[in-house]
């Protein structure tokens, strides 16, 4: 059984995000740390769980992104993926899901993966589109926001539960090959092991230049990025920690909340 996991490198969620007026994008030099998109960790862990439960399972991890993204592939191998593929975009900025899914689809075609997994959404672009787009391009069935999955014993189909509003679950059986986007909480992603990390450093990654793939024109233009508008007063308390505590207490008293 061949599994492909699509992973993405994103800024750490606690990293400050500032707008760079010159480039019209964010200031990349302000990003303190990059990491694997959290939901992609769950997707990869799910592949590793399948591999541990059966024989002859191989896992490839693929990413689309600039040079720095190599690190996320190394992490994936560190966690236990067998091979890594990097579609090199030579580009920092707003990434279009249509183009990302097109790049991955070009690579995947004729490679006979039985299962393609990815996170339900990336933390940076928050589009949630790559999984279903990839499936549609390849003519495969898909399910999003998967919180539970079980392969049939003959490995010809998969039963999944999709998390829907209010925590209820939509249940579906998909014929394999299929594309699943994974929701957090489906498992507990492991940390990379030292031996795997060493292997990741030794192992050669497959690198494909995005421009060598059939390029899909973008169907949208990023006009600008701005800081969001506040929907409430947002009084920012000033002073020492003690002073802020006293002010907050006063506010809550005045509002009869305490």
């Amino acid at each position: 059984m061949k599994i492909l996991v699509c992973v993405k490198q994103v800024p750490d969620s606690e990293s400050p995000i500032k707008i760079d007026n010159d480039s019209g994008w964010i200031r990349m030099d302000e990003i303190t740390e990059f990491k694997m998109n959290r939901l992609d960790e769950f997707a990869l862990e799910e592949a590793l769980v399948i591999k541990e439960a059966s024989q002859n399972v191989s896992i490839d991890a693929i990413t689309v992104g600039p040079g720095r993204s190599v690190e996320v592939i190394k992490r994936a191998i560190g966690m236990g993926a067998d091979r890594g593929i990097h579609i090199f975009t030579e580009f920092e900025g707003y990434q279009n899901s249509l183009q990302i899914s097109n790049g991955i689809a070009e690579f995947v075609r004729d490679r006979n993966y039985d299962l393609i997994l990815t996170g339900a959404m990336s933390e940076d672009n928050m589009q949630g589109q790559v999984g279903p787009m990839l499936a549609s391009r390849l003519g495969l069935p898909w399910a999003t926001s998967v919180i539970s999955l079980k392969l049939a014993t003959d490995k010809n189909s998969v039963y999944v539960e999709r998390e829907i509003e209010g925590g209820n679950r939509d249940t579906v059986v998909l014929n394999l090959p299929a594309v699943l986007t994974v929701q957090s909480g489906i498992n507990s992603p492991r940390y990379p092991s030292l031996s795997n990390l060493l292997r990741a450093n030794r192992q050669e990654l497959k690198t494909i230049r995005a421009k060598d793939l059939a390029v899909q024109a973008s169907r949208e233009d990023l006009i600008e990025i701005v800081y969001p508008q506040k929907s409430r007063a947002g009084q920012v308390l000033q002073g020492s920690q003690e002073a802020k505590a006293a002010q907050l207490l006063e506010i809550l008293y005045q509002k009869s909340l305490l």
């Binding site: 928050m126 579906v172 059986v173 949208e220 006009i223 800081y227 003690e242």
Partner: protein, 327 residues
């Protein structure tokens, strides 16, 4: 004239309220550029629902009846809607940004060679065209995006656009169509109800909610201490805290958890991702404590405390006790 098409969302024989929000969004889009507005509903025995939408909104509704669509099926939605929309050539297709809408919208975009813009929270005019606002980086940044294709598939966040019913309109028409497509690789088995005990969150008048900024599970103690200062209080968490098993899932506030509207909501170390905010934005008064001054939670807070919660919360409790002793 260009068309705007709304895809109605329904579940278990009920029209979901987000459908009317999509209509409100469509009307706002209409104000930017004169376009026709119509609704499509797909499912099994949905003609009655179509009639209801036509009555309430005054819009013309097409019911696509499919005997197998007793429950949502992504493959069927993608194919059946794309066949129908291909004939209509709409400029915009408005879909709910929900577990259902986000499941089929990207597929529809591929089928129709359309742009796909998801998670829309606003629409503004730019150079005579519509430009859509959507969050990036957990809501720390807003992107304004303009499609450059003939057709655009849009998913619109729930709880933002208000539908107002006006009594003056006449009811819209209902047309019934069938979809010949049969899903081949996706078999829907229906909705599994999960126990909906929300740990008393919906009844609490004060909620102290905790996010990843808590750092580790041991620090939860100060959150319980803070909550104990308030009568009728409850402790809740963001999804990430529940994923880490630090709190039970029934304590989760957000799209996939509880939707709450307490008198006071204290968000401790919560980043304020859209999925969380949608569960708490109806709160009367919101205090946010986060050491990251750019955290999105501050956009929806009445009072912002830029501090590390693990030191600020104990300081606050101490201050409270000192004041109380002196009364």
């Amino acid at each position: 004239m260009q068309r705007i098409v709304i895809i109605a969302e329904h579940i278990a024989g009920h029209i979901r309220s987000v459908t009317y929000e999509l209509i409100a969004f469509g009307k706002k889009l209409q104000q930017l550029k004169s376009q026709s507005l119509e609704v499509i509903i797909l499912g099994h025995e949905v003609t009655g629902l179509a009639r209801k939408i036509a009555d309430i909104s005054g819009l013309d509704v097409t019911a696509i009846e499919h005997p197998e669509a007793t429950t949502y099926n992504g493959e069927l939605y993608g194919k059946a809607l794309s066949v129908h929309l291909h004939d209509l050539q709409p400029a915009y297709v408005c879909v709910a940004h929900t577990s259902q809408g986000l499941d089929f919208a990207p597929s529809l975009a591929v089928e129709l060679n359309a742009a796909c813009i998801t998670g829309i929270e606003d629409v503004v005019e730019r150079d005579g065209g519509a430009c859509f606002a959507r969050p990036l980086f957990g809501g720390k940044i807003t992107a304004r995006v303009r499609p450059n294709s003939q057709t655009s598939i849009l998913t619109i966040q729930a709880g933002i656009f208000n539908f107002r019913k006006d009594d003056a309109h006449t009811a819209g028409t209902v047309a019934i169509k069938s979809a010949p497509y049969k899903p081949r690789r996706t078999r829907s088995l229906g909705i599994k109800q999960i126990e909906t005990d929300t740990a008393g969150l919906t009844e609490a008048s004060v909620i102290v909610a905790v996010g990843q900024g808590i750092g580790n599970q041991d620090n939860l103690d100060i959150i319980y201490q803070l909550a104990a200062l308030f009568p009728k209080s409850a402790v809740a968490g963001s999804r990430i805290v529940c994923d880490l098993n630090w709190l039970e899932y029934r304590c989760q506030v957000g799209v996939t958890g509880a939707t709450v509207s307490p008198r006071l909501y204290i968000a401790c170390g919560i980043s304020g991702a859209t999925q969380h905010v949608m569960g708490m934005r109806a709160s009367e008064f919101v205090v946010a404590i986060n050491r990251d001054p750019t955290a999105a939670i501050f956009q929806v807070a009445d009072v912002c405390v830029v501090e590390d919660l693990t030191t600020f919360v104990p300081t606050f409790i101490k201050t409270y006790r000192k004041v109380k002793e002196n009364i």
